[in-house]
């Protein structure tokens, strides 16, 4: 009997500690969760993107703040990876929240880095590190060769960012590779070049006017990209054969949202300009958007961490979402265990009191 009484009066800090342990343990020991049957809405979105052909363009909008980054970053990364893997072109934008501007860039840049490192840079790293441009940067900032090698594109982009000539110098890197005949033809296509394969606009104020404008003319509305380069200079927007002019040329818009932005985008992107819309939302909001999936206004939806895990399963690239599933499962089980234990204690002590 004493045990059960103790059970009902246990200090809540033990509960906190158990919770912390259960969540932290799988992270530290790198236990991965698995998913056998991804959710329907995630499969729908995956199938839509998977069906797209090379050089189709998708637009990703980042409408969240650092508060909810933990939930939305894994899924945005998974979708970005999928799009890059399929050689789709990516346009990134943070139309609603100023804080989304930096987050979106981090997401896209991290995935672009992955590709450029994996596919091209690894083989030709030495040549690039010794190129005059990088050499100068390395010397002025006193960065070791190893350090640059592990994170080459980020370093390169950071350098360009400080110089505000990102696209030009990004192209220079591309040119160095090309001039020295470092590219095989396959590699050249796989290299994710800013302006050709992806373009990032950052936060642009004036949501409705931006959306309406992009329905007619993207370069005219956005004018400059994140680094201030006129986007009309990008190959994506001035190519003769595969030009992106307006929403008409965008195959799907996917919104990562922690607020009401999906509702707005439904209105503008889907209703007004008739473009397909997908969404990735926080778990708390998700229930509100199932009706839109049913009506077909949303192509598909990723629902919180589970959505990210679903998508990572589908693209076979386990990441933070799947990793988190282990923590999630244990934490859910723990809470259920708490409910059961609490109730056993409660019922037993109640009966004891009645006697």
């Amino acid at each position: 009997m004493n045990f059960f009484k103790w059970l009902t009066k246990i200090d809540r800090r033990w509960v906190y500690l158990l919770m912390a342990f259960v969540v932290a343990f799988p992270i530290l020991t790198n236990i991965k969760g698995t998913i056998k049957k991804p959710s329907k809405s995630a499969v729908k979105l995956f199938k839509y993107i998977d069906k797209l052909e090379k050089d189709n363009t998708i637009m990703l909008t980042f409408d969240y703040s650092p508060d909810s980054l933990a939930e939305l970053n894994p899924m945005s990364k998974a979708i970005t990876y999928h799009a890059l893997e399929k050689n789709l072109r990516i346009i990134g934008l943070a139309p609603l929240w100023p804080t989304g501007g930096g987050l979106g860039l981090d997401v896209i840049q991290s995935q672009v880095d992955r590709f450029n490192q994996e596919v091209v840079l690894k083989s030709y790293l030495d040549e690039i590190v010794d190129s005059p441009l990088i050499k100068k940067y390395r010397e002025t900032n006193k960065i070791s060769v190893e350090n640059i090698k592990t994170n080459i594109t980020t370093v390169v982009t950071a350098y360009y960012e400080s110089d505000k000539k990102t696209i030009e110098v990004n192209k220079k890197l591309f040119d160095i590779m090309e001039k020295n005949n470092l590219f095989t033809k396959a590699d050249k296509d796989k290299f994710k070049l800013n302006g050709r394969d992806w373009s990032y606009f950052g936060y642009k104020p004036g949501f409705s006017s931006i959306m309406l404008g992009m329905g007619k003319d993207i370069p005219k509305t956005i004018v400059n990209d994140y680094w201030g380069t006129p986007i009309i200079k990008h190959e994506m927007f001035n190519s003769k054969t595969k030009k992106v002019k307006s929403f008409e040329d965008i195959s799907i818009v996917i919104d990562f949202a922690a607020g009401a932005s999906v509702d707005y985008l439904l209105l503008y992107v889907n209703t007004k300009f008739g473009r397909p819309l997908g969404a990735g939302v926080t778990a708390v909001m998700a229930a509100d958007y199932y009706p839109y999936i049913q009506s077909g206004q949303l192509v598909g939806m990723l629902n919180g961490m589970r959505g990210a895990a679903d998508y990572e399963t589908l693209i076979k690239q386990p990441g933070r979402g799947l990793n988190a599933m282990a923590s999630q499962t244990y934490a859910h089980l723990l809470i259920i265990l708490f409910i059961i234990l609490g109730n056993i204690g409660y019922l037993v002590t109640k009966k004891g009191d009645e006697k």
Binding site: D67, A70, I335, I339, G342
Partner: protein, 240 residues
């Protein structure tokens, strides 16, 4: 005078805007709804910040003056506000090295650096503490005291299992189970947590939320009308 003007304003504007929703001429759509509702109110609301700053200042000032217990922390509050505000408003946009700008609110400004490295982590941590509190609330408060409470906790448990991979694993493990008594009955269906979760969300959950929406809408309409017709005056905050 001090009460009549606001009451008349509330009534007049309330009635005008009640009708504005039903009229579709450009005066209603473009002027009343777009210009005044959207643009003007935005500007009026801008100045409310005056009150927050003075109030915060006054509260901390009083505590510091009285040397109330823990008044040191009131200094911190004031310093936090003043420093943050002056970086944004007063200081010039000068380059200070390391790619940072002293004033302004741009991405590479000190203002934004403080926001990203102090405010954001703290807010995110506050937010994440909910995980602990949910656990402790579940342990401490979810007691099967009566049928209502039991329903709540059972539903919560089912939905929680249905949302993690565990739910489908259980279902898969159980799908081999067959009963000798009722071979036609699909026993494993009892363990289809994902399916049950969806059903709970679709049927009882929808019913309950819909009923609340009806009630809240009625209450909202009544409260709005009470204010427009001056039955409810407490928002004036006083009889003077």
């Amino acid at each position: 005078m001090k009460r009549t003007i606001p009451l008349v304003l509330v009534f007049t504007l309330g009635v005008i805007y009640f009708f504005a929703g039903f009229f579709s001429n450009s005066f209603s759509v473009n002027f009343l709804q777009q210009e005044i509702y959207a643009n003007w109110l935005k500007i009026v609301g801008t100045f409310a910040i005056i009150m927050s700053v003075t109030s915060l200042w006054r509260r901390n000032y009083i505590k510091i003056k009285r040397k109330a217990p823990g008044y040191v922390y009131n200094y911190i509050e004031l310093i936090g506000m003043v420093v943050m505000a002056s970086f944004a408003v007063l200081l010039p946009k000068v380059n200070i090295g390391a790619g940072m700008v002293l004033g302004g609110i741009e991405k590479n400004s000190v203002f934004n650096w403080i926001f990203m490295n102090i405010q954001v982590p703290m807010q995110a941590t506050m937010f994440s503490m909910l995980a602990f509190y949910i656990a402790s609330a579940a342990y401490r408060a979810f007691r099967a005291r009566n049928i209502e409470a039991t329903l709540l906790l059972i539903t919560a448990a089912i939905v929680m299992i249905g949302r993690v991979p565990l739910g489908e694993n259980i279902y898969q493990a159980m799908s081999g189970v067959n009963s000798h008594f009722l071979p036609e009955f699909h026993w494993a269906g009892i363990f289809d947590f994902q399916g049950i979760t969806q059903w709970i969300l679709d049927i009882p959950n929808t019913a309950s939320k819909r009923a609340i929406v009806f009630g809240v809408a009625m209450g909202g309409i009544a409260t709005s009308l009470k204010i427009v017709f001056g039955i409810e005056k407490s928002w004036l905050g006083g009889t003077e």
